[in-house]
Amino acid sequence: MTAETQEKPKSYLAQLIDTGAHQRLLAFASLIILLVGFSIVSPNFMQTSNMIAILQATSVNGVLAIAATLVIITGGIDLSVGTLMTFTSVTAGVVLTKAGMPLPLGVISAVAMGAFCGLCSGFFVAKMKIPPFIATLGMMLILKGLSLVVSGTRPIYFSDTPGFDQISRGSLIGEIIPSVPIPNGVLILFIVAIVASYILGRTVLGRYCFALGSNEEAVRLSGVNTDRWKMAIYALAGAICGIAGILIASRLNSAQPALGLGYELEAIAAVVIGGTSLSGGRGTILGTLIGALIMAVLTNGLRVLSVAQEWQTVVTGAIIILAVYADMARRRKT
C-alpha cells in the first residue's frame, strides 16, 4: 500500500514540453485553428515576414504577460505592468540620454528600477496587507504620473545611443540564418519565457509562488517567511517589466512617457487565455506565451483582412470567449 515507485524522472526539457503540451493542448489548438483559418482567408497572411511581424507584436505583451503570470500564480494581480514598463523605459532614457551613460548601464538601470518598483508593490501587498488589486492600481497611477514627471512630459529619443534600437529590431538569428530574420525582441521574449519557466518549475522561488497561491496560510504556518518570498516574486515580476521597458523603448527608439495604460488588461488576458487561474496556485509560462500569441495572431489577422475596426473588436471579443471555452470544455472532460 505504498506509492508505486515512479518511472525514472524525465529530463527538464522533456517535462516542460510534456506537461505544457498535454495541459495546454487546446489553447494551442485554438492558436493553430486561427493560423490555419487566416491563411485560408488571406493569402498574404502566411508569409514569413508576417509571421515575424506577429512574433514581433507578441514580444512586448508576451514579456509583460510573463511578469503578470508570476504574480497571478501567487494569487495576486498586477495592474502596474504597463506603466511600470513605461517608467523603466523612461528611466533608461534618462540614464542613457540625459546622463549619457553607456548602453549596458541603461539596460541595467531599467531592470533594476523595475525590480525596485516591483519590490514596492510587494511591500504594500505583503507587509502592509493591501489587496494586490489596490496596491498595484495605486502603483500604476503613481508610475504613470512619475513617467510624465521624470521625462518632462515629452518623449526621450535614443538617437544618441547607437545600437539601442538593435536590442529589439536587430536580428542575431538572421545574421546566422539569413532566411529566418527573427528579431532580437522575439529572441528575448523566448529567453525570458524559458528562464521564468525554469524559475517556476525548478527553484524555491517558483515553488513558493505556487504554494502562496495554493494556500498562503498553510505556507506561513510551515515556518516560511511568506512576506519575503512574496516581495521577491513581485520584484522579479518588476524586473521582467523592466525588460519589457527596454524592448518597447528599443522598438520605438524612444521612451514614450504617455504609453502603458491598458497594457495591463491585455497582459492579464493573455495569462488567463493561457489557462492560468486568477485564483492562484496554477499556471504555466508556456500557456501564457500561447495566450499572448493568440491575441497577436487575432489582431494581426483581422487587420490583414482589413476587417472594419468596430467589427475587429467584436470578433476579437467573441474569439477570446470561444478559445477559452474550448479549453475549458476539454479540461472538464479529463
Binding site: A3, Q6, R220
Partner: protein
C-alpha cells in the same frame, strides 16, 4: 425492518486508483450501520456515490426496493438521502442559520427573506441538539468543532430518511459526542437509517447496530456490532493484529528544559499560561472545546500575536513574532485544521511534505533538488502508509486521513526540537494511529520535546508523560501521566470554571 438502501457490485475508478471494487452495502430502517475501513479504503467514495456527487462506474443502487440513480445532491435529497461530509463544506462568510437553510430559506413575497424565521428555525434545531450557538454567528469565525455541529444541524434539518455521517465526531470532544449520540438514538427511534463512518473504535460499541468493513476498496463483510469484538473488526480492517503497548513514562527529571513558557496572555482566550517541557518528554494538553489549547500553541508559534508572555527555548529568551521565527528557533506546529492551515490541496504530495524543509533541498543558487525530495517523500509515504498512486498526486485527491498523514510527514521531515501536534490523529485509522503513537514516542526518545493537544482523552492518557489541563483560557493544572491519573481528575480540572478558583497555572 425494511431495507431502505441496497447497493450491490459498486465500481468506481479514478485516474490511477481503483477506489471501489464490487462493493455491496445495505441499510435498514431505524438502524445505525457503521462503515469501517482504513484511510483510503473507499468509504467516503461509496457515500458520495450514494448521495449523487460521484457517478458510479458499475453496480446497482436501490432505494426502498426501487432502482435509483441520483445524479446530483438535489436528486439524492429528493430521494430522502442526507449527508454530512467528511470535509466541512460551509460558506464561511454566512451565518450559522444561513448556512443551515441554504437553498430552503423561508421566503416572503418577491423573494424577500424571512430572516427572523430563519434564525428561529436554526435556534430550534440547536435546541434539540442541546447546542449553545448563536444562529447569527459568522461561520468562518467559529472553531471547527462548532462548524462540524453546524454541518450536523444542517443535515438534521433536511429530515432525511437516510442520513450519512462521514466522520462527524473527528472534531468533537467527549461531551459533544455524547450529545450527538442522543440525537442519533432519537433519529433511530423515528425510523431513520444512519450510515456512520468513524475511526474511533469505541463508538462502534456505543452506537452501531451492524458494521460493514471495507479494505482496499473491497467489501470484507457485514457483522452484528454487538457480537463482534473490536479486535476482530480491527484485524479485518487492517489485515493484521494491532497491538497497543502500555504507556511507559520515562524519568525526565534530569533532562534539560526544552521549552519554557511564562505568563502567556492574549485577551480572554489565553490568560496567564505558564508551563515547561523537557527534552524527551511528551506533554499532553487536555480540555473541552474552546478551552484555548489551540490558541496557546498558535501564540507560542507566532501564528497569532500575543499580549504578553515569555518564551524560552533551551533557556534562551526567544522573540517569536512569526511562524518562521518559531521554526528557526526549532519549534514546529501541526495545525488542527488541515484544510485551511495544513496542506496546500492544489499541490502534490511531494511538494507538501517538503514545504517546511525546502531549504534542505535547495542548491546554493535556489534550484530545487527534485530527486532528493522524491526519495524523502517516498520514504515518508511508506513509513506512514499514505495511500496515494504516486508522490505526485495532488493532495486534494487523497482521502481525508491520508491528507492528515501528509501534514504529519511534513513536520516529521522538518525535524524540530519542539513539536506541537494539535489533534494529530484526527481522521486517522486505528492502524495508522498506533504507528503515529510509536513515531511520537520515538521522537521523544530521541530527545525532542513533544506537546500533544487532543480532544480524545484516551489519546492524551495513552501518550502523555504529563497532562496539562485547560479551561476557559487558563491552565487549571498539570497532572502526572500514566495509570495513576484518572479521566475524572482530568475532567474535574477541565471544568474548573473561573468562579470556582483562581488559576493555578503551576510552573514546575
Amino acid at each position: 425492518m425494511n431495507t431502505i438502501v441496497e447497493m450491490t457490485g459498486i465500481e468506481k475508478r479514478f485516474p490511477g486508483v481503483h477506489a471501489l471494487k464490487n462493493v455491496q452495502f445495505d441499510l435498514r430502517e431505524g438502524e445505525v450501520h457503521a462503515l469501517m475501513g482504513e484511510n483510503g479504503a473507499g468509504k467516503s467514495t461509496l457515500m458520495k456515490i450514494l448521495s449523487g456527487i460521484y457517478k458510479r462506474d458499475g453496480g446497482a443502487l436501490r432505494i426502498n426496493g426501487d432502482p435509483a440513480d441520483p445524479n446530483s445532491p438535489r436528486e439524492a435529497q429528493d430521494l430522502g438521502i442526507g449527508i454530512i461530509h467528511q470535509e466541512l463544506s460551509l460558506m464561511n462568510d454566512l451565518t450559522a442559520a444561513q448556512n443551515i437553510f441554504i437553498g430552503r430559506e423561508p421566503r416572503r413575497s418577491f423573494g424577500r427573506l424571512d430572516e427572523a424565521a430563519l434564525n428561529q428555525g436554526a435556534a430550534d434545531i440547536f435546541a434539540t441538539m442541546n447546542l449553545n450557538l448563536d444562529p447569527r454567528a459568522i461561520v468562518g469565525s467559529l472553531t471547527i468543532a462548532k462548524q462540524q455541529m453546524i454541518e450536523i444541524a444542517k443535515a438534521l434539518s433536511y429530515r432525511s430518511k437516510v442520513l450519512v455521517m462521514d466522520e462527524p465526531t473527528a472534531a468533537l470532544n467527549e461531551a459533544e459526542i455524547a450529545e450527538l449520540f442522543v440525537i442519533i438514538r432519537q433519529l433511530k427511534a423515528e425510523g431513520v437509517g444512519i450510515i456512520y463512518i468513524s475511526h474511533k473504535m469505541d463508538e462502534l460499541k456505543r452506537i452501531a447496530d451492524r458494521v460493514t468493513i471495507m479494505r482496499d476498496g473491497e467489501y470484507v463483510g457485514t457483522f452484528e456490532a454487538a457480537d463482534t469484538p473490536i479486535s476482530t473488526v480491527i484485524s479485518l480492517m487492517v489485515g493484521r493484529e494491532v497491538t497497543e503497548k502500555p504507556l511507559h513514562v520515562p524519568d525526565t527529571s534530569g533532562a534539560e528544559v526544552a521549552l519554557e513558557v511564562t505568563g502567556l496572555t492574549r485577551g480572554r482566550d489565553i490568560q496567564d499560561v505558564s508551563f515547561s517541557v523537557k527534552k524527551g518528554e511528551i506533554l499532553g494538553f487536555a480540555g473541552l472545546m474552546g478551552a484555548g489549547r489551540t490558541e496557546v500553541a498558535r501564540a507560542i508559534f507566532g501564528a497569532d500575536p500575543r499580549d504578553s508572555g515569555e518564551i524560552r527555548v533551551h533557556g534562551h529568551l526567544c522573540h517569536i513574532k512569526t511562524p518562521s521565527d518559531a521554526v528557526a528557533a526549532g519549534i514546529g506546529y501541526l495545525s488542527e485544521d488541515r484544510k485551511h492551515f495544513g496542506v496546500a490541496v492544489g499541490m502534490d504530495v511531494r511538494a507538501n511534505i517538503a514545504m517546511a524543509s525546502l531549504r534542505r533541498f535547495t542548491s546554493r543558487i535556489g534550484v530545487l533538488q527534485e530527486r532528493m525530495m522524491r526519495e524523502v517523500s517516498v520514504k515518508y509515504i511508506n513509513r506512514l502508509g499514505i495511500r496515494t498512486p504516486s508522490d505526485q498526486q495532488e493532495v486534494r485527491l487523497l482521502s481525508g486521513g491520508n491528507q492528515q498523514k501528509v501534514v504529519i510527514a511534513k513536520w516529521l521531515l522538518r525535524d524540530c526540537d519542539i513539536l506541537f501536534f494539535d489533534e494529530p490523529t484526527r481522521g486517522i485509522d486505528v492502524g495508522a494511529k498506533s504507528e503515529i503513537y510509536k513515531l511520537l514516542e520515538d521522537l521523544a526518545q530521541q530527545g525532542r520535546a513533544i506537546i500533544v493537544i487532543s480532544s480524545e482523552l484516551p489519546e492524551v492518557m495513552r501518550l502523555s508523560h504529563r497532562i496539562a489541563v485547560m479551561c476557559e483560557g487558563r491552565l487549571t493544572g498539570i497532572l502526572p501521566g500514566g495509570a495513576t491519573t484518572t479521566q475524572e481528575e482530568i475532567m474535574q480540572l477541565a471544568t474548573q470554571r473561573h468562579a470556582v478558583m483562581a488559576p493555578t497555572g503551576a510552573v514546575q
